[in-house]
């Protein structure tokens, strides 16, 4: 809902007429904590990828390469399950990338 439209431009009753629209709704805006990926510790075991309740772990060529912050809500499950301390949760805005 980044583009705010007038009542004349939207379907009535809040109906959503497009399928697969969850991609357009960036739920990552809710986040207060953010996972930081520590690449040197990561063994690419995919535990975080399996356990993420959204689909916020980005995998390329069978390697964990980062987090999709459009959808990561900062729940911290990835940090909890990581056997190698390769993910650390930080408060949004307090530590840089």
């Amino acid at each position: 809902m980044s583009q705010e439209k007038t009542w004349k431009e939207i379907p009535w009753g809040g109906l959503i007429l497009d399928a697969g629209n969850a991609q357009e709704y960036h739920t990552g805006e809710w986040r207060t904590e953010r996972p930081v990926h520590i690449m040197e510790n990561c063994k690419h075991c995919m535990y975080c990828w399996i356990c993420c309740p959204d689909t916020a772990i980005i995998v390329k060529d069978k390697k964990m390469v980062g987090v999709d912050f459009d959808f990561c809500k900062g729940c911290g499950i990835c940090e909890k399950v990581c056997p190698f301390d390769a993910i650390k949760m930080v408060i949004e805005g307090e530590e840089g990338d």
């Binding site: 705010e4 009542w7 939207i10 009535w12 009753g13 809040g14 109906l15 007429l17």
Partner: protein
């Protein structure tokens, strides 16, 4: 050739529902609505309709089933009264907000407590801000005819709103009257094939109903409902005029009875309009210039048409069959007086709340109201009175 039948208001509504042959009917029995659904169940059991009849466990479920069926893409009818309407209140709003053209008969009945099964308008008046179109009917004939018009009005592409067809509990719901009916094929032709909009069952075009709608868009969706109500008014007039071409019965949004040259007028709704006509005839025979404005359409409230209809009349009494506790007068009075505020004449308008819990209103009482209007000096206080209650 259309035939005349002896029908109660409820049987007229049931017969109309049979002729509409909706895809889904979901309802729960409550006095004084029960006999409508009993009659419709009989049609269903005899295989006279193609309808899916859903017997639910409460009115909350009845309206929920109607919402689901209408969202799926079906033509849907239900009916209820009083506490049943109160129980479905939550879903009544959802039906309107989702723009589902459900038709619901409400056999107007007093709300508890104390428990009372007789007619007044407190049930549907509680739903006047729910986003439903509301039409109040004087007799069984009007109920029968309005069912078809309601179907057309609600389903119109500019409207897509649910429609409440109101009749007075017991007075109209259980009284047997002569009703001129239409042939099944005339009804089918008038209402037409149902054209669903955004049906859930259209799997080629998936749609989501009822998503979360917070501070960013909820207000816009409410604004759309305001617009739908505005657009409903010309549609209601057009459908009514088409219906009169079909059978000669022309209802419009209101009925003006000896109003044009009247000095005094009563404004009321539903069955009491019939009693008032009797009194108008009597007083007219005595040379008194009295008239009646019967309001049929309460939502959307036709303020401009009301102003035109009452133009030039000095003294007006509104007869309200419900109380709005703590308000300045009943719901109809508030609307009528509000509408007349913008006229240059600013007529005297007084309110009479009457008939709560089915308390009889008779011709003598109505004549008494006319007498007060006729005897009034230049200025009358805009007061609220209680007609027919012991101790004023």
């Amino acid at each position: 050739m259309a035939k005349s039948m002896a029908l109660t208001g409820n049987f007229a509504a049931a017969y109309a529902t049979k002729q509409i042959n909706p895809h889904v009917v979901a309802a729960y029995p409550i006095t004084p609505q029960t006999t409508m659904m009993e009659k419709f169940s009989e049609y269903y059991a005899n295989g006279e309709v193609d309808t899916e009849l859903i017997c639910v466990e409460s009115e909350h479920s009845a309206m929920s089933a109607c919402v689901g069926a209408a969202a799926a893409g079906g033509r849907v009818i239900t009916s209820t009264a009083a506490n049943g309407l109160a129980l479905m209140f939550e879903i009544v709003y959802i039906a309107a907000s989702n723009r589902l053209p459900i038709v619901m008969c409400v056999m107007n009945r007093a709300l508890s407590a104390p428990i009372n099964i007789h007619g007044d308008h407190s049930d549907s008046m509680g739903c006047r801000d729910s986003g439903w179109i509301q039409i109040y009917n004087e007799n069984a004939q009007e109920v029968y005819d309005t069912m078809f018009m309601a179907t057309r009005i609600g389903e119109h592409k500019d409207v897509r709103l649910p429609v409440m067809v109101n009749l007075d509990g017991f007075i109209t719901s259980h009284k047997i009257e002569k009703v001129d009916t239409l042939e099944d094929d005339e009804v089918r032709k008038f209402i037409g094939e149902y054209q669903p909009v955004y049906p859930l069952l259209d799997i080629e075009n998936p749609v989501t109903y009822g998503p979360l709608d917070l501070t960013d868009y909820y207000f816009e969706h409410k604004r759309q409902q305001v617009e739908a109500m505005k657009k409903a008014l010309p549609v209601i007039k057009k459908v009514s005029s088409e219906y009169s071409n079909l059978c000669g019965r022309d209802y419009g949004i209101m009925e003006k009875y000896h109003l044009d040259d009247a000095d005094c007028a009563i404004v009321t709704m539903s069955s009491t309009a019939g009693t008032t006509k009797y009194v108008v005839d009597k007083l007219r025979a005595e040379g008194k210039k009295v008239g009646l404005l019967k309001v049929r359409l309460f939502r959307p409230f036709p303020a401009e048409e009301i102003r035109e209809a009452l133009a030039g009349i000095k003294n007006i009494a509104v007869l309200d069959r419900s109380e709005s506790f703590g308000a300045f007068g009943g719901p109809l009075f508030s609307e009528v007086r509000n509408a007349m505020y913008d006229t240059d004449e600013r007529p005297n308008i007084v309110d009479y709340v009457f008939g709560l819990g089915g308390r009889d209103i008779n011709a003598v009482q109505i004549e008494g109201v006319y007498k007060r209007l006729m005897d009034a000096k230049d200025k009358m206080p805009g007061d609220v009175n209680y007609l027919g209650v012991r101790g004023d």
